[in-house]
């Protein structure tokens, strides 16, 4: 390719790609710079590692990081685990499959905060679930489900919200496998599990990786589900970042948490995607 042609292509890409790079790049740059003491909104701007030292040294940060990673990993893996059987089930159209598919994907159209409030209505102390349990006699008194310490409520909401996305990606990939390839595996003695492990999963690994990455990043940076239904004894990274900025005006420390969150998203997403590929390579036989 000639230099002239290369420059022409680069120039043509500038309006789209350039804009994205500038928008994303500038935010990233400011966050990183702020974490090192620049763009200080409440004092002198100068290079400093103090903010990193302070944040990394706090217990609360460690707990937030661990909690966000936990929520993100379980949400990503759980969404995939639920979406795969559904995608395989709906691989071939059947009577009512369009309705079932639409219903399963409906959560994509419900804003997360609305979903969280609906969820609270169900699990609240005097909510529908507790009333049902008392009515059936399974419990004598209401149980406190809300803001459970293990974050199960948040995980449930993440699965509810993200599983349709995984389903969307996996359905397309699973439907892309020809019937004859699946039949060939069956003909060669592979039962349902072996067909999934040795044929379907390896051939849809890219969709699986895409779903894992997107869901992990979204769940790691969750704020709405956490403040609505999450545990009160631990904060998610996003919640902690806002807490530092709002409660103490520590913009630079909040930036440290923000940059760390981006790091978690990058490392975690790539780690999960890589793990998926390695696992499937190992499971090929």
């Amino acid at each position: 390719m000639t230099l002239r042609r290369t420059l022409t292509i680069a120039a043509l890409l500038t309006p789209g790609l350039g804009l994205i790079l500038v928008m994303v790049g500038s935010v990233f740059y400011i966050a990183v710079a702020q974490s090192f003491g620049y763009y200080n909104l409440s004092g002198e701007s100068a290079f400093s590692l103090d903010h990193w030292r302070d944040v990394l040294g706090s217990k609360q940060f460690g707990r937030s990081l661990g909690y966000s990673a936990y929520i993100a990993i379980i949400s990503a893996l759980g969404s995939i685990a639920i979406a795969y059987p559904l995608a395989i089930w709906m691989r071939k159209p059947f009577r009512g499959s369009l309705v079932v598919g639409s219903l399963l994907k409906a959560p994509l159209f419900v804003p997360g905060l609305v979903a969280a409030f609906l969820f609270l209505n169900v699990i609240a102390y005097h909510g529908v679930l507790n009333q049902f349990l008392i009515w059936t006699g399974l419990t004598d008194a209401p149980i406190r489900f809300q803001n459970d310490r293990n974050g199960f409520g948040v995980i449930f909401l993440q699965l509810w919200k993200n599983m349709p996305l995984a389903l969307l990606l996996l359905t397309g990939a699973v439907q892309g496998i020809s019937d004859e390839v699946v039949d060939a595996a069956r003909d060669l003695g592979a039962g349902p599990l072996a067909r999934f492990r040795k044929v379907i999963a390896p051939l849809t690994v890219q969709a699986m990786q895409a779903a894992l990455i997107i869901i992990f990043i979204g769940a790691a940076g969750d704020f709405a589900f956490q403040v609505t239904a999450g545990p009160t004894n631990v904060q998610s990274m996003a919640q902690y970042m806002v807490f530092l900025k709002t409660s103490f005006g520590r913009w630079n420390q909040a930036a440290v948490v923000g940059v760390s969150l981006m790091g978690l998203a990058l490392v975690g997403a790539l780690g999960l995607a890589g793990l998926a590929r390695l696992t499937l390579r190992g499971l090929k036989w």
Partner: protein
């Protein structure tokens, strides 16, 4: 190597479409049987029913004397070569071939021996580590065949395996499949709509139409002694003319009165002859079974010239003749003689 028997197989799909009706077929061990028929005749449905991908609505399937009617494909001692090859795109040639034996828990040494032997037999040793998308169509077909044979199945099922290959390659792979079948001796059921493929490869041909078997026989029998107008017309080219039986082998037809060596059976409704069975004679020749007409169209085919001849009866359509050597020009008046022993009688449809 094992026999396969389909007894009274019928298949009705969920939408009510009856794809197969009362199929009875026995394939002997080591036999190469071809299911032949036009698109939609039920041959692939029958093959998939034998493989277990479709449940038979009625009837029974036995492989080696064992009833497998209710067994799923993975539990049947069959292996299938698919029309699209259906190779696993993420596995190498060697891994594709090894898939079945590994799945069946064959010991490693035995698996390796099978793999090496098959790679040699299908001449793909140099390609063992390639992914399928790096192979030509013919090579992919050979991998599919090797993958099926690696299972050492009782019966190998072929679903139009050559339809994606060009004409020259098709002939080459056809010979390779037949040679392997003879060498290894597996029982084979082969589906095709290509009658020349069926005639060239098969020990027996099963001609199907409308979900039924029209005729079963050796290729020579099917070609020389078709039982129905459909078989006569589908296998090669045939001229079909209605007749009225005059007794003693004599029949009255729109072409005139003809004499056949063998009198018609009671349910026959057409006389049939092959285009190459005629002999051109002098226009004024007075002889038995001589028919006169005008050449309306001629097509040079290399070994022969195909003539389309209009006879006296316009409603009958053109008669097809194959003439070796110099052939009359378009518009020429011709006379041709049918040998009495070349005239066969066929039924209009399955009785």
């Amino acid at each position: 190597m094992a026999s396969l028997a389909a007894k009274g197989i019928s298949k009705v799909f969920e939408d009510g479409f009856q794809a197969l009706t009362d199929i009875d077929l026995v394939v002997e061990p080591g036999e190469f049987v071809t299911l032949l028929g036009p698109s939609g005749c039920g041959k692939t449905t029958l093959l998939k029913t034998l493989a277990g991908f479709y449940d038979a609505t009625t009837g029974r399937i036995e492989i080696g004397g064992t009833d497998v009617t209710a067994a799923p494909p993975e539990k049947r001692d069959t292996a299938m070569c698919f029309q699209s090859y259906a190779l696993f795109p993420h596995l190498t040639v060697a891994e594709n071939i090894d898939f079945g034996p590994r799945q069946a828990g064959v010991p490693k040494a035995e698996r390796r021996a099978r793999l090496e032997s098959l790679l040699r037999q299908v001449d793909l040793e140099a390609h063992r580590d390639k992914l399928p998308n790096r192979l030509s169509g013919g090579q992919q077909q050979r991998v599919a065949l090797a993958r099926a044979l690696a299972m050492r199945p009782a019966v190998v099922l072929f679903d139009e395996p050559l339809s994606n290959l060009d004409a020259k390659l098709r002939e080459q792979v056809r010979r390779e499949i037949r040679a392997l079948q003879k060498e290894i001796g597996f029982t084979a059921i082969y589906v095709t709509h290509d009658q020349s493929e069926a005639l060239a490869m098969s020990d027996r041909v099963v001609v199907m139409q409308g979900g039924r078997i029209d005729q079963v026989g050796r290729p020579e029998e099917i070609y020389a002694r078709p039982e129905t107008a459909f078989v006569a017309d589908f296998i090669g080219a045939a001229n079909l003319v209605p007749f009225e039986d005059l007794g003693g082998g004599r029949v009255k037809t729109p072409l005139g009165e003809l004499r056949a060596a063998v009198p018609p059976a009671g349910n026959a409704s057409f006389i049939c002859w092959r285009p190459e069975d005629v002999e051109l004679v002098e226009a004024g020749a007075a002889s038995e079974n001589v028919i006169r007409g005008v050449v309306r169209d001629r097509a040079y085919q290399g070994a022969h010239t195909e003539l389309h001849v209009a006879t006296g009866d316009a409603d009958l359509g053109l008669q097809r003749l194959h003439v070796a050597g110099a052939a009359p020009a378009e518009g020429a008046e011709v006379a041709f003689r049918l040998g009495a022993d070349q005239i066969r009688f066929v039924r209009s449809a399955l009785a």
